[in-house]
């Protein structure tokens, strides 16, 4: 997934995911890297800098999401499958409980028709394949003009705005 939809535009994704078993062999000084959250949590002082973010699998223990993550430039939540809805909750916890304000990428096996919901839960960047239909995806991001519930994007439910 080399492209990213961000701020309504398609752009190259400068961030590369590093798997746990490749971490030791990756030269983290050059490039922009997303390392496993577990590795970062075990030794945050080693992995510092504007070019280091983390990625989180959807089976990540939500109790391990911390406010210390708020300073990271990028966090990616990697969906194993689109049916795995845990990523939506993890995103909201990062935004609403951990005060995370940086870039939150949706990666992995999510699908286009979840974009509106992903956006509502706090994602603001979406990893896509090179051949993705960007215009169609942008349309899905705007499936609805309003929502009943509060979420990360709108703290007031509709009943407080009616």
């Amino acid at each position: 997934m080399s492209k990213l939809i961000k701020n309504g535009e398609s752009q190259n994704n400068p961030w590369q995911i590093v798997e746990a078993d490749a971490l030791a062999d990756t030269a983290l000084n050059n490039g922009q890297w997303l390392i496993p959250a577990e590795a970062w949590l075990s030794n945050p002082s080693v992995y510092q800098g504007d070019n280091i973010g983390i990625w989180i699998a959807t089976d990540f223990n939500p109790d391990s999401l911390t406010k210390s993550m708020a300073k990271l430039p990028v966090i990616a939540i990697v969906f194993g499958a689109f049916a795995d809805g845990r990523g939506f909750s993890l995103a909201r916890i990062l935004r609403e409980d951990c005060d995370y304000t940086g870039e939150l990428q949706a990666a992995g096996g999510y699908m286009q028709d979840q974009l509106f919901f992903l956006q509502r839960c706090g994602f603001n960047a979406y990893c896509v394949n090179d051949d993705a239909d960007i215009e169609s995806m942008k349309e899905s991001l705007g499936d609805f003009s309003n929502s009943y519930q509060a979420s990360t994007d709108e703290s007031r439910p509709l009943f407080r705005r009616r």
């Binding site: 028709d113 839960c121 349309e139 609805f144 009943y148 509060a150 009943f159 407080r160």
Partner: protein, 554 residues
């Protein structure tokens, strides 16, 4: 009834447009079938044995006559001219074309209807008591809270891809008619002595393969905390419910695995962070929702005077008298009654009605019941606000339309899933069993003598026919490719919630009616005074029934 404002209307129209685009992408090959699957399910569309099946939402069972006329039109124009009332108060059509579903949704949106989240692993239609707002034993009208839950759960961004489906029921009465012990979340409205309203919260009930009675995790949840607390339950479930095995993915499995106390603690921990956020309900919103469920324009009547002529006719006409006893129900307003339109005449699949019957119902509702119609989880229709002195006139019209079978609450008023005739999940057919039972037990005096009896039939262990909570439950099973039927006894969907126990080895379709007959013979022999079937079962247990049914031939 709730009436859409511009926000509700716009959201539902945007949903139609969204699904139209998704269907087009699917038909163009731009959307993979496995990705289209959850999208069509969350718009009510299954692919069944013979054709797609579409489930249309009837929020907490309330319809107006305009909506019922629209359903008649849809069933006639897009389908084969009949619909099916489900055990969760929704309405299904059996033969829509996938290509036309967006048009059907657009037609529904014209009358403030939809098929949102009637299937799929999301929060489903909230169900309630079909006598809500008119029941004499009502503590608080549940419908405003059902509507609040409907809006909160509609397109909820965090909970559209749960481990499994999720069903909520709300009861506002002393006697539970909403089966709250058998829902993922059951909410019992309570009012404290100081007047404060709240809910007793049950979680982890359900039927299906692993039937479980829900556990109380909160004795009193103040009404303003309803949505934040639901958010917290769903958050715990979404993150911790099993996703590796669909048969172990319902919240009941999680609650059992954690234990109800630990589950309640986990919910409380999440809720502490959420309880004061803007999702907390306001007095204004509760008042706004209550404003849609006020009393219709009732006349002030004297009940005895209203019933004088009716009682005279009752003495002259046995069929009318029986109908009054079984299909007409008390009402909180003097001079009014609720009337059940029985949808279980012999030879018709339980809960099925035709397009012209739907139109007749709409007309009857306009003429006799302030234009409102209710669907019941017993798969019948209720006209909720009939003036008592009109009952005879109404009865004559119900007779003409085939709705006057005076069997409500009796054995032949059975719950029955569509079964193997329609459903691709079923192990066995259920409709022919229902029909065989109706034909065997066609002596109405015998049925009345049996007294109140819930007989529930499911064509497979997914239990859409609620067989576990039937006083007599029948479950279709597959034995080496042949249909067999297991009989269960002693279930109860009300406050004294109980799961039925299996009588013994399953029967062939030819044998099952005889087995039920034997069970009833044992009941009648053992019965003392006014004991119901359930009373006798609870007193004598399973053994006397079992011994007689499985007695060895000499």
């Amino acid at each position: 009834m709730y009436v859409y404002d511009e926000h509700d209307q716009k959201l539902i129209q945007e949903r139609v447009a969204q699904f139209r685009r998704q269907t087009e992408r699917y038909l163009d090959g731009k959307l993979a079938p496995e990705q289209f699957l959850p999208l069509r399910l969350q718009n009510g569309l299954y692919v069944q044995r013979l054709a797609p099946m579409m489930r249309i939402a009837v929020p907490y069972g309330m319809l107006n006559s305009k909506q019922v006329r629209k359903l008649a039109h849809i069933s006639r124009y897009y389908d084969k001219g009949y619909v099916h009332i489900t055990t969760r108060q929704n309405i299904q059509i059996n033969w829509p074309l996938l290509e036309e579903v967006p048009d059907i949704l657009a037609e529904l949106a014209e009358v403030e209807m939809h098929a949102v989240q009637t299937s799929g692993n999301c929060i489903r239609n909230t169900t309630s008591d079909h006598f809500a707002g008119i029941a004499q034993d009502e503590i608080v009208d549940p419908r405003p809270y059902c509507e609040i839950i409907r809006q909160w759960s509609t397109f909820h961004p965090e909970y559209a891809f749960l481990p499994r489906k999720f069903k909520i029921a709300v009861s506002g009465t002393v006697e539970d008619r909403a089966a709250i012990h058998f829902h993922d979340i059951g909410l019992q409205l309570v009012q404290k002595e100081d007047g404060n309203i709240g809910f007793t919260v049950l979680v982890g009930g359900g039927l299906g393969r692993t039937p479980v009675i829900g556990k109380v995790i909160r004795e009193f949840l103040p009404e303003h905390d309803l949505l934040t607390y639901l958010e917290a339950i769903l958050r715990v479930y979404n993150l911790n419910g099993r996703r590796d095995n669909k048969y172990k993915a319902r919240i009941k499995i999680l609650v059992n695995a954690m234990g109800p106390e630990a589950f309640a603690d986990a919910v409380e921990a999440v809720w502490l962070k959420m309880q004061d956020n803007p999702t907390r309900l306001t007095d204004k919103e509760i008042k706004r929702c209550k404003s849609f469920f006020t009393e219709p324009d009732y006349a002030e009547l004297d009940d005895i005077a209203e019933m004088a002529e009716i009682n005279q006719l009752r003495g002259d006409n046995k069929a009318f008298a029986s109908w009054l006893s079984y299909n007409v129900h008390s009402h909180r307003k003097a001079g009014y009654r609720a009337v059940t339109l029985a949808l279980k005449p012999t030879g018709i699949a339980p809960g099925d009605i035709t397009d012209s019957q739907l139109e007749a119902i709409a007309n009857l509702a306009d003429d006799y019941s302030f234009g409102e119609i209710r669907t019941t989880h017993m798969q019948n229709i209720v006209l909720g606000d009939v003036r008592a002195n009109q009952l005879y006139k109404l009865w004559l019209k119900l007779v003409d339309n085939g709705f006057a079978t005076a069997n409500v609450g009796t054995l032949t008023d059975m719950i029955c899933c569509p079964g193997g005739d329609y459903c691709s999940l079923a192990n066995a057919k259920s409709i022919p069993v229902a029909e065989a039972l109706q034909r065997e037990f066609d002596d109405i005096d015998y049925l009345y003598d049996l007294g109140p009896l819930d007989l529930n039939i499911s064509g497979c262990m997914n239990a859409c026919g609620h067989h576990h909570v039937g006083h007599i439950g029948i479950l279709g099973v597959d034995k080496k490719g042949e249909e067999f039927y297991q009989v269960q006894l002693g279930g109860n969907s009300k406050n004294a919630a109980a799961l039925a126990k299996v009588l013994g080895p399953a029967f062939s379709r030819n044998e099952v009616v005889g087995a039920v007959k034997t069970v009833l013979d044992v009941y009648l022999e053992k019965r003392q005074a006014e004991e119901t079937f359930l009373d006798v079962y609870n007193r004598v247990g399973l053994t006397p029934f079992k011994e007689r049914v499985y007695v060895k031939a000499d």
